[in-house]
């Protein structure tokens, strides 16, 4: 009767048996979302740092824009990318549609505003002082930026986790551009939607739990790379 409980036992079953169907989509999920978040981090953290160090007044418009893009509906992002890369679109010749590569592009577009925006906010609160301290000590641009990022690592970690959360749980865009092709572009979320559509609620819940478990493990690993923000009050 209770499909929720069945979902839990289903999840355990899938994991413990190393179900090959599951393994494959888990692996693809990790590959796609991992790459996308990595790229978004590489672009978004420097961008957010740069914006965060500018006076708030001068970045008002771009801040609002970033906030708005944080709310970019994945299905719209997916649709636009689809239209650009479709056979008749401007980048159709690349033939990227229905490949993991284009799923990475879509997720990159979704994670970037979040990572850049939240980094910007984090830097804005204390970054200026850190920047000045680094500069006075003779740090070049790169070391200065790195120092600012390092000092804000707790909040930036939060930004990355939020970005990861957004894309690994996202279904609209990857469905749109990836096509949910079994064995090729099927990831956890599209598999969940498929099973839900079939009315296999137990399997869908089970897959969802596996996804959450994976997210938990990733977060726990990432967590080690940062320490809780210490502070002292003399």
């Amino acid at each position: 009767m209770p499909p929720l409980l069945e979902g839990i036992s289903e999840a355990f079953y899938l994991i413990l048996t190393f179900d090959p169907y599951l393994m494959r989509i888990v692996f693809l999920s990790l590959q796609v979302s991992g790459t996308a978040v990595l790229l978004s981090t590489l672009v978004g953290v420097p961008l957010g740092t740069f914006l965060g160090l500018k006076p708030a007044g001068r970045t008002r418009l771009i801040s609002k824009l970033l906030y708005t893009l944080m709310g970019l509906p994945p299905v719209v992002a997916g649709l636009v990318i689809y239209l650009l890369f479709s056979r008749m679109g401007p980048f159709g010749v690349l033939g990227l549609l229905w490949t993991p590569a284009i799923m990475i592009i879509a997720q990159f577009v979704l994670a970037l505003p979040i990572i850049a925006g939240l980094t910007m906010i984090a830097i804005r609160s204390r970054g200026k002082t850190i920047q000045e301290t680094a500069l006075t000590l003779g740090a070049g641009k790169l070391l200065t930026a790195w120092t600012v990022v390092r000092e804000s690592r707790f909040a930036i970690f939060g930004a990355i986790v939020t970005g990861l959360g957004r894309v690994i749980a996202e279904v609209g865009a990857v469905m749109m551009v990836g096509g949910n092709i079994a064995g090729r572009t099927r990831v956890m979320t599209t598999a969940i939607v498929l099973e839900t559509g079939k009315g296999n609620f137990e399997l869908a819940v089970g897959l969802g739990l596996v996804l959450l478990l994976i997210a938990f493990i990733i977060n726990s690993l990432l967590y080690r790379f940062q320490e809780g923000g210490k502070n002292s009050a003399w």
Partner: protein, 280 residues
């Protein structure tokens, strides 16, 4: 573009229906329901038929029909769980089985159309001109031409599986893509990839302008697609608005309702035919 000929005429059968078991109707409610909730499949919803059918019903009975569209599997599940009042779906075998099991009652074959095979205009597999869909499927498998499958346990997918079985194909390789999506999305992908797929005629017709695909095979009796309407059995779920669903079923089956179905067209082409189109 590619529809060369009208769908194979299949004679409508008389209206009377072998409703699985008569249901003991609960006491007629004094106050009429404001609305009932119907689950249907995406293809039905996307066709636009309900946009003419439901207002007419509303006009007559003052009951609104709120529509939820889902995959066939999910729609049936919603009905079994009692989360909707009535279903309009096209998976006859499952429908009859669930009526048998007592989840639904008052099932009627309300309308039908057919499945067609679509593919690129160039038709690399040479399906055009074949009469039997099993031959076409064999040709595709033999030549390894791209074929997209719904892969989602929908009525269409179940039909497709049956055809593969009949055609004796069991070795699915790279050319066979299981996309796990709705009909519209599957058609879009098929068009992008210039492959073949099996679709219901209604969805294909409503998307035709946006697709680079033609009908390559139609009219094989195997491709028959029957829609049924059925109410959630109030003996399983006492809260459902059974009386109102009866009104809706009556309306669908009435000459007026059947007439609306018959005269619904897109671009001059009929999408559905009233009544039952198949012998049991």
């Amino acid at each position: 573009s590619g529809c060369a000929q009208a769908p194979a005429p299949i004679a409508p059968h008389p209206q009377e229906e072998a409703s699985a078991e008569p249901v003991e109707k609960p006491v007629e409610e004094a106050v009429a329901d404001k609305y009932i909730i119907m689950a249907t499949t995406t293809s039905t919803y996307d066709s636009g038929l309900l946009d003419v059918l439901l207002p007419a019903f509303m006009e007559k009975y003052g009951i609104e029909v709120q529509v939820i569209f889902k995959g066939t599997g999910q729609a049936l599940e919603l009905g079994q769980r009692g989360d909707v009042d009535i279903l309009l779906v096209h998976d006859r075998a499952s429908e009859l089985r669930l009526v048998e099991e007592g989840y639904f009652s008052d099932r009627h074959d309300v309308m039908y159309n057919d499945f067609v095979m679509v593919g690129p205009a160039a038709d690399p597999a040479g399906v055009k001109g074949m009469a039997k869909v099993t031959d076409a499927f064999s040709a595709i498998a033999g030549g390894g031409y791209t074929f997209l499958s719904r892969g989602d346990d929908s009525g269409t997918y179940r039909r497709e599986l049956k055809i593969w079985e009949k055609a004796g194909v069991s070795d699915f390789r790279d050319w066979y893509l299981s996309v796990g999506q709705g009909m519209g999305d599957t058609l879009r992908m098929t068009s992008e990839m210039q492959g073949y797929t099996l679709t219901d005629r209604g969805t294909y017709l409503s998307l035709k302008d946006k697709l680079d695909l033609e009908i390559v095979l139609q009219g094989d009796p195997v491709l028959f697609n029957q829609y049924g309407v059925m109410a959630v059995n109030p003996q399983k779920h006492a809260h459902v608005k059974y009386a109102s669903t009866q009104k809706f079923i009556d309306f669908m089956m009435s000459p007026e309702g059947q007439d609306i179905i018959a005269s619904f067209r897109i671009g001059g082409e009929s999408l559905f035919f009233p009544g039952k189109g198949i012998k049991d």
